[in-house]
Assembly symmetry: C2
Homo-oligomer: 244 residues x 2
């Protein structure tokens, strides 16, 4: 039994204790956040949640690790194949990772974005990393089709979860006994939170902030963003739009 | 009279013609988009609009230039002073620029984000760039306190404009005869669009897409983002919240 595992167990026990004492705050607050990055990720999946957390980091001491699935080269939103860029646009953004999946530090919160890159056939090392890292984090948060990666890693086995609605069919066959919930802006199941497509990650992150840091903090962050957050996780006009 | 200026005039005339013919589409569609970046920019100011445009670039051939105010080094959201990071967080993201203000190509659309970095005292070269570039673009779009930079560059002289609501006072004294509108999610004045704080940039960009590429295209992009866009530019609960 490793020290790291014991530390994780102790943190989890403390978190459980805090939850029992107070439903809206947590005395063992998360400090170390990791967002995984892979080629052709969806930009807002990453930056909606991260900008809420950027603002939270002005109120709490937080660390962010941007964890590349490959190397320390910038990770781009660029389409990985011509078929994904039929109009031959040259329109993408690249982020600088701080670590790779091979040297990432221990995390309190693991975040997994989606995007067309989740459909690539070379993501096994990333899936392995998610499977290992998620066992030691206090929370796992997925955005959009990031839930497909979490499902492949076993994180959603036997859990309630949601995903992108336009690409809803893509979750089929992923996860073991996962209860996929179509009508959901986001789903919380224990320490695993999954959101619907792209912008839903903002609402999920603000709800997660409310759950962990208290509602006033979440409201303050949302007000700073001038964002009217959705408070009802079951509100989902896009499930209707896509006939789910 | 330079060729570039003549080209700009011809494009503007064509754009005017297109507007006269059809209020919702433009036969001379923008192709080249530039987003300026400076240290301590606000992440969602950049990535809300850009991710809407990332999705648009799957329907139209678009090019994106990320234009640094300094060098080609990655540009970070990191606080520029300890006073802006009182909890000693290590929580930031860095983007790779494609150009600097010294070698940026001609643009059809110039976009200017906000953030704490707009308060820095070394932005004169960026202001000069904005003043020059905005004379040759078809559109200028500012997000949040990006309007402060546009105002300093003279882009908002004699125009209607808006800005971040929590930091509303910061616009005072900027612009020459600018009519600052407090109750606005965004303001369109000719070819200059300004949005309120952070997430308002998403609504403005979708409204701009509707104006230039048609409402169906904007709706499709918003649906892909699973984002319920605000259609009323005068809707602004945050102006009320901050007693404006």
């Amino acid at each position: 039994m490793s020290m790291k595992w014991l530390q994780g167990l102790a943190l989890a026990a403390l978190a459980g204790l805090a939850c029992a004492q107070d439903n809206s705050t947590n005395s063992t607050l998360p400090v170390n956040f990791g967002m995984v990055l892979f080629p052709s990720f969806q930009a807002l999946d990453v930056f909606g949640p991260l900008d809420a957390l950027n603002l939270l980091s002005m109120q709490y001491p937080l660390n962010l690790y941007l964890i590349s699935s490959t190397t320390l080269d910038p990770v781009s939103t660029k389409a990985r194949s011509a078929g994904m860029n039929t109009h031959n646009s040259n329109f993408s953004e690249a982020i600088t990772p701080t670590h790779t999946i091979h040297d990432a530090p221990a995390l309190d919160v693991l975040m997994i974005p989606g995007g067309l890159g989740t459909r690539a056939d070379d993501l096994d090392p990333l899936i392995d990393y998610i499977a290992d890292a998620s066992k030691e984090t206090d929370y796992v948060l997925t955005i959009c089709t990031g839930s497909w990666l979490a499902a492949r890693a076993g994180v959603l086995d036997g859990r309630n979860a949601t995903s992108n609605k336009r690409s809803w069919a893509g979750r089929e066959g992923l996860g073991n006994g996962t209860n996929w919930i179509a009508h959901a802006r986001w789903v919380e199941d224990g320490n695993v939170w999954t959101s619907s497509g792209i912008s839903a990650g903002i609402d999920m992150t603000l709800a997660w902030i409310a759950s962990v840091y208290g509602n006033d903090t979440a409201t303050d962050v949302a007000n700073s963003m001038e964002y009217e957050r959705q408070l009802d996780p079951s509100y989902d006009p896009f499930a209707d739009l896509y006939n789910l």
